[in-house]
Symmetry: none
């Protein structure tokens, strides 16, 4: 299982390609076949899964009931924004325009490893996210800690 970590500030070129940092690539399993699936993340960012990790995720989606309307909705939103992309000769992947738009990504990106997936953020959006979280820090901490005790 991959275990990505670290933050990297990279640029995205005008063809919508971003480089997967070498340090993250090292942790991609060979089973992934240099293939990644990009999809909408929680918050305003993108998730990138190596193929093997994505397959694992897909398995759990398949297990969902297609007669349950909520499950159907979840499947649709998750899958319909998903795009597969393979590394080019320079270890880059191309991100579809609609996903770039969703995450408000222009020329600079933050790429972070978060265990089994990689996140891509617009640096400004990430700052906003941090700021928003900070203001509710105590509140969240309280909830989390309470939950932890249960």
């Amino acid at each position: 299982m991959s275990a990505f970590k670290g933050t990297y500030e990279y640029s995205i070129d005008n063809k919508g390609r971003i480089n997967i940092p070498a340090k993250l690539r090292k942790y991609v399993s060979p089973e992934a076949n240099d293939t990644f699936t990009i999809t909408r993340g929680f918050e305003k960012c993108l998730f990138i899964y190596p193929q093997d990790e994505w397959n694992r995720l897909e398995q759990s989606i398949r297990a969902l009931s297609s007669t349950n309307a909520k499950h159907r909705f979840f499947m649709r939103v998750l899958l319909q924004q998903a795009a597969e992309s393979q590394l080019d000769g320079q270890s880059r992947i191309t991100i579809p325009k609609d996903l770039l738009q969703f995450a408000a990504i222009e020329s600079e990106v933050l790429i972070m490893g978060v265990l089994e997936h990689i996140e891509v953020w617009n640096p400004d959006e990430y700052k906003k996210y941090l700021a928003a979280q900070e203001s509710s820090y105590e509140e969240v901490a309280e909830t989390v800690l309470q939950k932890k005790d249960v």
Copy 2:
């Protein structure tokens, strides 16, 4: 097994033909023989199955009880609206007029891959569908993912 994913905004020409996106075609098994079955989907959209997947579905339909009125109704709606169509030289299939009417499709369509089938929506109808969803993506995801752990 096919695993379609992604959303594509395509146009339908005045002959009722839509292109199957290249990225989706990649996942159609060769057993499908470039043949697809189109039928009414859940919600206001069309489902397109590659032939091999359709055959699988037909097997499960055969298993349904023909003495159960609801099952009978389901079989009728599914089968009577079903149309087989083969890709033309440009990788397009022709959709029958009554199905286009059912899904309120005019000139623009959203084509999306949802695991084993492809869905075709009128973009406006899809927006309505999303809006009608009372709970948010994150909310549903939480429920779904919790269930996954069980």
